[in-house]
Structure formats: C-alpha cells, structure tokens
Symmetry: C2
C-alpha cells in the first residue's frame, strides 16, 4: 500500500486508477507490533493499523478486502481474483501490476502442529487469536519455538503476561543473525529475565490432550509441557503466485527486481518481503523481511510506476530488538557472514557504558566491530546492552553505508554529554580497537 | 593529559620523559559532569576524576600539581614555572612543549560579581564550593546567568536541588547554538519544568546584603531575588600565556594549530579547549570547548609528538544536552550559521515520535534538517524532544561528515523495531522533507 499511496500522491484518480486486492481484512498494519499486542502493551490490535481500507479509499485507492489473486497472466495483462466471501472468481485487467504478496511464516509439518493452542503469528487475526487463548485458557506454561527476533519478542510477550516460558531453538545460539560470542550475551540476557532456554534442541512434534489441545512440545531432548505454543520461526517470501506466473525467483525464492523495483517481466513490479534486495557490503542478493525496507521500496516503486525515476539503494542488514531490559542490534556483516562472503575480516569487541560512568543510570554495553583486514573498512557491527544501547547501531550503519574505515569512524564528532555517553562513545572505542587490529 | 598518556603508550619512560604542570589540584577530570554533581546526582566530586595524578604517575608521567607555568621561551625551549605553594619560580627545559591550557569561564566585570554566593563553574573546587553553599545556606531562590548548555544544565541542577530558579539570558532565545524556532521549543521546555525564564534580559549587577552576600541580581528588566547565583556564560580559550609567548592566535583568540596539532612555532604543540579547529562543513575556523574534541586532539598530538602521523579531521559542531526530561541536540550548521557562511540553504522541520506511535513510551520529537539549495547536501540538523531524541543526532552527524545528500540519507538502512522507532525514523522523515524542499 506504500506503493499505491505514493503513486496516488503523484497521480490523481482522474489520471490513474489504482486497485488493491487483499485476501485478509486489514491494510497497512504493523505486523512487527504484534508481539507487543500479545504482551498486553498495546490495548487494541486495531492500533497497529497505520492506514485503514477506508483511509485508502478516501485517498482514491480502490481496496478489495477478502479478495485473493489466484493467478497472473502477464501476457494478457490480467489477474484472476477470487472473492473469498462470495466464492466466485473474476478477471481484472491491468496496465501495470504490483506484486506485494509479502511473506508467510515458516510452519514445519510436524505431528500436532495444527493442534489447538499452537499458533503462528503474522496477521492481526493471529495476534487476536493468541490473545483470546491467553484470556480464555490462562495457560501457565508457554513454549516459543525459534530463537530469532520474532521468537525472542514472543517469549518476552509470554513472560510479560505472567506465563512461565521456555524458548526452543534448533541452533546452538539464539539470534543466529549475530556472531556466536554476541549471541551468547543474548542467551545470558534471556536466562537473566527468567526465560528457560533450550539451545541446540530441535522440535519433534506437539502432544495434545484428549480434547485436542496442545499439552506439550516434544523435542530431541525431551518433553516440555505447554498449554500454549507460538511458532516464531521467521518467514519466507510468499512467491508461489509469482512463480506460477513465470516471474523469475532468486535467492530464497524471492522475486528478482532491479533497483527500480521492476521485475524482468514487462509491466510487473514487486516490493516488500517478497523480493530480493542487494546487500551493499557483500554485494550479495538477500531477502530481509522488514517494514522499513518494504516502505522504502514501496515509495520507490510508486514513484517509478508513475513515470518517476527513483532507485532503491539496497540494504545493509540493520536490525534492532528489545528483550525486556536488554537491547540487541546489528548492521552490515557479522564475522561469520564476512567469511561466507569470502572477505578477510577481523573483529574487536569492547565493553563500555551507555553514559559517563559517574552518571546515574549508566548501563553496560558490548560493541563488536567487524572490519576488513588491511583496508580497515568497517563491514559490520553488533551491540548487546541495556537501555540506550541498540539505536547506537544507526551511526555505525551510516558509516558502513558510506564505506568509512574504522579509523576514520573513530574520529567522528558524535554527541557527547554525561547523560548520553562517555567522552569516547563505546561505538568509537570499538571502532578504534578494530582499526588497530586490522 | 590525553596527549601525555598517548605519548607514554608509544614511548617508555626510558625513551621519553614526560612532565606535566597543573596549577590546580586535579588531573583529567570531567568538567562537563560538574552540573550533575551540583544537582546532587553524583555523590562525590572525586568521581569526576577519570585519572588521578597518582594514576598518571604510576604510568610514568611526572605530574606537578599547584604549579603554574607563567612564561614560555620558545627560543630557549624552556618554561618558567611557579610553585604556588612554595611561592618560588624555576625554569624547566623542554624538547617538545604541549600547551593544553584549556579555557576560562566568562565572568563579566559587573558590580558585585565577586560577592559571596556568586559562583562560576569550571573546576572541581568550583563545584564543591557551590555544593557547600547550598548545604550551608539552603537558599530558596537561585539565578543562573546564561542560557547556553552550561546555564541550562546549572538551572536544572538548582531546580533539582529544590531551589526556585530563574534563568537570565541576554539574547532573545535560550541555546543560541540552535535556530530561533528550535530555541523556542527549548524555551517551552524550560518553562514546562518550572524554571523562570528571562530572555532578552541583560544582567547589570549583583546586590549584596550587609554581610556581603548576594541577595539579588539586577537586570535591565528589574531585580531578581537570589541567595545563590551561578554564572553559566560559557568559556573562552585560556591563551594569555600562549599569546605572551608569541604563539599565533586565531578566531576568538584560540591558538592556531595544523591538523597534526602543531603550532606554527617549532617544537610547540597545542590541543583542547585552547585551540582553533576547522569546521568541516563551513570550512571556517572555530573554537568549541568540548571534552570529546580535547580527547581526540590529545590522542593525535600524543601520537605525532612521538614520531607518529595522525591528523585531527576537524569538527562539525555536534552537541547534546538534557534539561530534565527534555533532550536537545545539534550538529553541522544551523540555518543562521549557513547564512553567515554564505551558503544558500533551506530547512525543513517535522514533528515525529521516538517510537512507533502505538508503542508505550512513544515521545514527541522535533527534527530540523538544513540542506544546501540545489545540491540537497545535508548541512546540519537540530533535535528537541524527550527521551530517546538527542542521540539520534549521531546518525545525522555521520551523514554530514560523509557529505551525504538529504535524499541519500532518507534511504539509509537504520535500526527499526517498535520500541525504538517508527518504520520511518523521524530523522529520515525530516531529511526527506528537506530533500523535497531543496
């Protein structure tokens, strides 16, 4: 809908008809806010809606809810749409088509995965279903499957609702988007807030009671009782429709687009979680499902589809999250990712303080910088700490984006006052140490 | 002492003798922490000492406290030192001289300025003197003179101690380092926390009672009762000694140095609040008294004086401060500064939210971006907001440092999660709007 809105800003309803089909019941909602709704921090799920269908319609965008596009004919330039409520299908012609089918949550085909009480989370309906379950059943034990961002946020949410929570992760560390040493700090943080952490533990299935409700999660290491289970295993691009239409798919089955968000097929554009982006540091194609990218891509697409010329410059994998009082952030490449990209990298890690050490509320922060050996170019950074830690990733992201060396970075004129930073901000100290190691 | 420490890291005591003369009683203390000591947030003033004379001595640096250098002979390569306690003077030879005389607080020669109860604040002794006065006299009314960073921090400190506080500023806005529109927001914040603000009001003198203690501040607009007065008028480079020695002074009487921190006089180096730096955006020479610059310059100097080759890359005027729950930040050039530098600039200001609007604790933030007309290059930014606002200046500082356009900046991959930011961070929205205006 970002693309539609941007197109509408540039072309009036007289100039351009814009029709959107959505198989769900909402438009423009913040899926990333769902864990906080489940946690009870946001009283109404509707608050996550940034722009309702009515608002879009008022702006001159035709929105059909509960309408699923089931086929695309790129030669005839038409789509086949099913009205889910009426149960009928019709064809709709287009001049330009925008594919913004997003992503679907990973849901392993394990025994019992469809039992009552086992939830995925992607839509507002999912969030409401979990919330209803928690209210109705008052479960005492929860298991969250998956130790990435969404899994951690859901585990915090369960914990926040007063439910004893276990987190199960197949890999030997939570937050596999961090290097193992930083992931270990996250594991410590999870344990410190009382979440039971089972690492290196695969889920085998889900046990149910005689009413069909989930009662336990079976893992390679034994059974974990649970009256509610949430799957936080991440997402994959929702591109079955695109593939069937002959749109070329790339890495992780994402839709291939150029930097104008156009696919290789004439008149077909795509943006959001379903497309492949370029990682500016490694140069590799990546699929990163994140609202920021989707919004920026939508703006680029909406401009270009109406005759403008904007470029999506790519991503560098910046991400932040909070788990209770702990903050976690990353940008660029980890050591592991640098190695996988064939880049000779070195890293340095420092422990510092979010404020001047003498100032009340100074909190611990660990910063890791990854730099290219020889040139000292900043490749990536990771942060784990308490309040005030995570958003420090932004200045590192800006530096990596601009291809700064760690040495030049360490000279930056950053904001300093005792309530905000030590004289040498921890990010500068980490860069300094990494520069020396390079 | 940063320079001395860096030199010592690079050269052993056998290789290089390092002697420091300090007329006070402390080394390496955080003057910027003094307002927080006065506020009662830091229990002991000694906590502001980052490295004591004993620690420096243990590292092999000879430190003479209560020793004032009263003359420099750059031809004979010696300094004249007065032992303040013994009252005797002696000559000390040098091979390389480092001038790090810092700054002196501005203290207008007004009637009554030397009365008991009228304080300046620069040294730990100053902070202790104010604290003692507040404890002993329990004043009910304070006047702080000066509406810049230090004045605001002191006004907050007095207010925090439960003293009814008035702030007097000669200019029509507080925080003259901001543009008037942003300064007005700061004025609102000051008023909101109950500090009485007198703008456009010059101080004429100080009234005393019959014991010689201050009892009021006389201003152009009338008399303000005060049992304690703190002068927070900022500082000027302490370069009388340097001038007498024939070192060339530049803007605001700062010592002229090259980017290796060497003065034009052979064997004489200088760093810290007493030197002139180069502003990377305007290209102009500036004097900015800030611990971050002093530390970085000290490191550069200490490296070069021991045969290395580092460059101080200049400054862009980044600064942050907090006044109770309000945060203020700036970097680069204001609209006013851009105009003064002869740069054709436009600005855009937006009101946003520090977190996703639906997330608890989302606070208001106002961001102003200044960009060059035509090119759209980012020249400066200003932020006023609540918790989480100020340190956002860093990503803007990194962008300005790298000469990014506002347009490119608005595409940056910054950290996003609902507890930390809306999908479009307010800094990106401000840059976007400024890019459109350019």
């Amino acid at each position: 809908m970002s693309a539609a809105s941007q197109a509408r800003r540039r072309r009036s309803a007289e100039q351009l008809e814009i029709v959107a089909f959505e198989r769900g019941e909402h438009t423009s909602y913040a899926a990333c806010g769902l864990p906080y709704f489940v946690a009870g921090l946001i009283p109404e799920a509707e608050r996550l809606v940034a722009r309702s269908p009515e608002q879009h319609r008022a702006a001159g965008i035709v929105v059909h809810l509960r309408h699923e596009v089931v086929a695309i004919d790129t030669t005839a330039r038409r789509v086949r749409v099913r009205d889910l409520d009426a149960g009928v299908e019709r064809d709709e012609p287009y001049d330009e088509l925008v594919v913004a089918t997003g992503s679907v949550p990973l849901r392993p085909p394990l025994p019992g995965v469809d039992a009552a009480g086992v939830f995925g989370i992607q839509t507002i309906a999912d969030g409401v279903a979990i919330d209803d379950w928690l209210r109705d059943r008052a479960p005492r034990r929860a298991v969250v499957v998956g130790g990435g961002y969404i899994g951690l946020e859901l585990a915090e949410a369960m914990q926040h609702r007063g439910i004893t929570t276990a987190l199960v992760e197949q890999l030997p560390q939570p937050m596999a988007t961090l290097d193992p040493d930083m992931g270990a700090l996250v594991a410590d943080a999870i344990a410190a807030i009382g979440i039971e952490l089972h690492l290196g533990t695969g889920v085998v299935g889900f046990e149910t009671d005689d009413t069909g409700r989930v009662r336990a999660v079976t893992t390679a290491a034994g059974e974990l009782p649970a009256e509610v289970v949430v799957l936080g295993l991440g997402v994959r691009p929702n591109t079955t429709l695109a593939a069937a239409a002959g749109l070329p798919l790339g890495v992780r089955d994402g839709i291939v687009v150029d930097d104008r968000m156009h696919t290789p097929v004439d008149g077909v554009w795509a943006a959001g979680d379903c497309v492949v982006s370029r990682h500016r540091v490694s140069g590799d194609p990546v699929v990163i499902a994140l609202g920021t990218h989707a919004n920026k891509q939508g703006r680029v697409l909406g401009t270009n589809v109406t005759g403008g010329d904007l470029r999506f410059p790519g991503v560098i994998g910046t991400a932040v999250t909070r788990i209770c009082e702990y903050e976690v952030a990353r940008t660029g490449l980890t050591e592991r990712e640098a190695a996988a990209a064939g880049i000779d990298a070195v890293a340095a890690t420092i422990e510092g303080s979010t404020r001047s050490s003498y100032y009340p509320g100074a909190e611990a922060i660990t910063v890791k910088c990854v730099v290219a050996r020889g040139t000292g170019r900043l490749l990536g950074a990771q942060i784990v700490g308490r309040e005030g830690a995570a958003k420090r990733i932004d200045v590192l992201a800006a530096a990596i984006w601009n291809e700064m060396t760690a040495d030049d970075f360490s000279q930056l004129d950053l904001g300093y006052a005792p309530p905000f930073s030590p004289v040498w901000d921890p990010v500068l100290i980490a860069a300094r140490k990494a520069a020396d190691a390079a």
